[in-house]
């Protein structure tokens, strides 16, 4: 069930009505209803994988209690290892087995041997990377004595499976969400209205921005050998907008939906394309994953403390693992490595936290320096996205090679102009302009439209909402799967 489907448009109001009118008097029933709804939501993809989700939930719930109750350090560690190995084992089998098997066969082949390695004909259970990380954060936090284990199985199950975040995050922390699950909730009008506004903006990002950009990006990437120079750069730029609109749109819908039920989820995006350096970009892009890796991998490894070599090692580990988390393909690893290379000079020079505040805070326009910094950071991100989007490493390298071929030739610009005229006309660039300006004007908020109610009179607000709703119907691109579902 996709957030941008009719199914979800029927499912959400039904659950909302039952939640606030049917079972509002009992926290237990509210949680039970949300859990049932979440399992139904998940089973709409493939009910067979529901067993995996339930198993993972039971495992972490049980090991969490065992870690807490264990008397000695060794026992605690054993239970932690059981949870980690089992969770990562499932992830490994479903997500990475074929990759390792094929890579092994290929490596053996290069040495002159022939290896017939069996691959598994299994499909990737949707959301496995996300709910596995939910569960792992829970057991890690118990092991590190940051939280007490939940003794309420329903609340814990809901924490792992809450439908807005189940298949593509944000990756929640038990310290943040679990207390909300165990606390009585009353309807908050402002929170609900804000939730709807965020859902509307999320849908706009996904249906109008991402899906339209996807058509152009797909055209360029699927036929990259037919294009050169500027057109290939355009392909990268449109993919950058596609993936941002797609994933941050999904996150907005998830956060907005959770608000309708009285929950506040972790923020996942903070206008990353307005970053002035790549370190700032990574503090603003997929925040819940970046902070997960920071807290459970980077800091335990020593973070940016110690020798230069140690810093280099830690940065590479975290970015390579992050790349690998996205999928079993060398392209994601290359993408991670590229980002590690980008950020390394900043970490070594100790300048990775020089841009903490929002750009041009309190001002309408950025300074020329800020603008140049943003442009450079965006350019670096786009270059890295080429590796992320390409089908294979060879495809990515070929793409990059073609991109620089004849970049400054007149024919390259003519080709790009011709391409733009024939694929998008004026509508998509205009939509992108409106989108970027709206995001820029709201960059100091949690999401672009957050303070709309405070800034503008009702007539203007509703006109804007109706315009967005009309754009969803009349200017939406052809429906595409959310990119992050594959992870």
């Amino acid at each position: 069930m996709l957030f941008n489907s009719i199914d979800f448009a029927l499912f959400l109001p039904l659950v909302f009505l039952l939640y606030w009118y049917g079972v509002q008097r009992s926290l237990k029933l509210q949680n039970l209803l949300l859990l049932a709804a979440s399992y139904f939501f998940y089973s709409c993809w493939d009910w067979r994988f529901l067993f995996l989700l339930v198993f993972s939930t039971i495992l972490d719930y049980y090991t969490g209690i065992k870690i807490n109750d264990a008397s000695g350090k060794r026992q605690r560690k054993t239970w932690l290892l059981i949870s980690v190995i089992t969770n990562l084992g499932f992830l490994g089998v479903f997500k990475y087995y074929n990759f390792f098997a094929a890579s092994f066969a290929s490596a053996i082949g290069m040495l002159g041997f022939k290896a017939d390695v069996a691959t598994l004909e299994v499909i990737l259970p949707v959301g496995i990377s996300f709910y596995t990380f939910h569960g792992l954060s829970y057991v890690f936090d118990i092991y590190n004595r940051k939280i007490e284990p939940s003794r309420n199985f329903i609340s814990y199950s809901l924490f792992v499976s809450f439908f807005p975040l189940l298949v593509a995050g944000p990756i929640e922390r038990a310290t943040h969400l679990l207390p909300q699950m165990e606390k009585p909730r009353t309807f908050n009008y402002s929170q609900a209205v804000d939730g709807l506004r965020q859902i509307l903006w999320g849908l706009f990002k996904k249906i109008v921005i991402a899906d339209n950009c996807a058509e152009i990006a797909n055209q360029v990437f699927d036929h990259s050998s037919s294009y050169s120079g500027v057109t290939l750069i355009l392909g990268g730029v449109f993919f950058a907008f596609q993936i941002y609109g797609d994933f941050s749109g999904y996150s907005d819908i998830a956060l907005g939906t959770a608000r309708l039920f009285g929950f506040e989820l972790l923020r996942n995006f903070a206008f990353p394309y307005f970053s002035r350096d790549i370190a700032e970009f990574w503090r603003r892009w997929h925040i819940s994953l970046s902070s997960w890796f920071r807290d459970y991998l980077y800091i335990p490894l020593g973070g940016n403390k110690g020798s230069v070599m140690r810093k280099v090692r830690n940065v590479f580990i975290i970015f390579l693992v992050s790349g690998f988390w996205h999928g079993a393909n060398w392209t994601f690893i290359a993408w991670g490595a590229l980002n590690a290379l980008y950020i390394l000079p900043l970490v070594i020079a100790g300048k990775n936290r020089s841009n903490i505040e929002t750009v041009a805070q309190g001002r309408v326009l950025p300074s020329l320096k800020e603008f140049s910094q943003m442009l450079l950071t965006f350019g670096l991100a786009v270059f890295a996205w080429i590796f992320f989007r390409a089908e294979s490493l060879t495809h990515a390298l070929q793409y990059v090679k073609n991109m620089f071929t004849g970049l400054f030739a007149r024919s390259s610009y003519n080709e790009a102009l011709h391409f733009m005229q024939h694929t998008m006309g004026y509508t998509i660039p205009l939509l992108l302009l409106v989108f970027v300006l709206t995001e820029w004007s709201g960059r100091e908020q949690k999401y672009a439209l957050e303070r709309m109610a405070l800034k503008y009179p009702r007539f203007l607000r509703w006109t804007f909402y109706y315009s967005i709703a009309a754009a969803l119907f009349f200017l939406g691109g052809s429906e595409q799967q959310f990119i992050y579902f594959q992870f």
């Binding site: 009118y21 509002q24 009008y189 391409f419 024939h422």
Partner: protein
């Protein structure tokens, strides 16, 4: 929880209030369209379309039926010009996704006398069933949504392009494309050739992968039976295999022989080997709008060739008699 109830109710009223304006607009459009007597014919309402078009048909009418390849690729005026001596009027009732059987059934049912029918044939036509609900897999979800969508399209003007087409397209207004003075569809949408070709290729690949010999047999049996019935009405059926670009033809040629073996129509023309003027078969973008539909210039040429072919057949038949 009284306060919570009140707030929830207020919230719901506000949310519902948001939909009042669009609902009013929807209602107003539906009312005005009905008051103006704009015909409401959805894409899959063949009977209503046939009533509109075939009301003008007579024994001098050559009717074209089939899918969008015939809709775009056969220009009535260009054909009429090449059938001039016979005072024939050509009507094109081909529509995207139609295999023409539904129109022919209408003709048989109403015993309409025509000069002849040019029916498009293709091994993939077995999968077409007039975009109707019969194609829909009967899962609960599909029963609710697809049937609901289908019925809504039959009833509401806002669910299809009836109003816009009525004002913009002229005759025959219900078609989904614009028509020029030659009676051919003016095709200028969906970006450049490559992008359009990609769309067609995806579709042909899917059809190729999902090809069902059983469906093809059902289709050819129905076509043969209809051709017999039409023969009794003295309406000859000229089956035509429309040209497609070489790359797309590669995806359907495996099944073409089966189609030809099963066809029992009076006359069959195969244009899969359509000879282009400069014989550069691979130069698809010149001859095709998207690899599947002929470009306007070549539709004109092809219409003339087909008309000449039909004239020849008619001459031979007359000589035999």
């Amino acid at each position: 929880m009284k306060t919570a109830d009140k707030t929830t109710g207020y919230f719901l009223r506000r949310v519902l209030g948001f939909f009042v304006l669009p609902l009013l607009l929807f209602g107003a459009t539906e009312t005005v369209a009905r008051m103006l007597h704009i015909p409401k014919i959805s894409h899959n309402n063949i009977d209503a379309k046939a009533q509109q078009v075939l009301a003008q048909a007579d024994e001098q009418t050559l009717l074209i039926v089939g899918d969008s390849r015939l809709e775009w690729g056969l220009l009535p005026l260009a054909m009429e010009e090449n059938l001039r001596g016979e005072n024939i009027r050509v009507l094109n009732m081909a529509m995207p996704g139609s295999n023409g059987l539904d129109v022919m059934q209408y003709i048989v049912r109403h015993k309409i006398k025509l000069k002849g029918i040019v029916a498009g044939v293709s091994p993939f036509f077995g999968r077409y069933a007039n975009h109707g609900v019969e194609r829909i897999k009967l899962s609960l979800r599909n029963c609710i949504y697809e049937n609901g969508h289908y019925q809504a399209k039959q009833v509401f003007y806002c669910m299809d392009n009836s109003i816009a087409n009525f004002y913009e397209n002229g005759y025959p207004y219900f078609k989904s494309h614009f028509y020029d003075e030659q009676g051919g569809a003016v095709v200028d949408a969906y970006g450049g050739y490559e992008k359009r070709y990609m769309f067609q290729q995806t579709m042909y690949k899917k059809w190729n992968a999902e090809f069902s010999p059983g469906k093809l047999t059902v289709y050819t049996n129905a076509l043969n039976k209809l051709a017999d019935s039409l023969q009794q009405l003295q309406v000859p059926v000229y089956a035509v295999y429309m040209p497609v670009s070489s790359k797309l033809f590669a995806l359907e040629k495996d099944f073409k022989t089966t189609l030809e073996q099963q066809l029992q129509v009076e006359s069959y023309s195969d244009y899969s080997g359509f000879v282009y003027s400069d014989s550069t078969l691979l130069h698809d973008s010149v001859y095709f709008y998207d690899g599947s539909h002929l470009s306007h210039t070549y539709a004109k040429k092809f219409s003339a060739i087909l008309a000449g072919h039909i004239r020849e057949i008619r001459k031979q038949q007359a000589n035999r008699k």
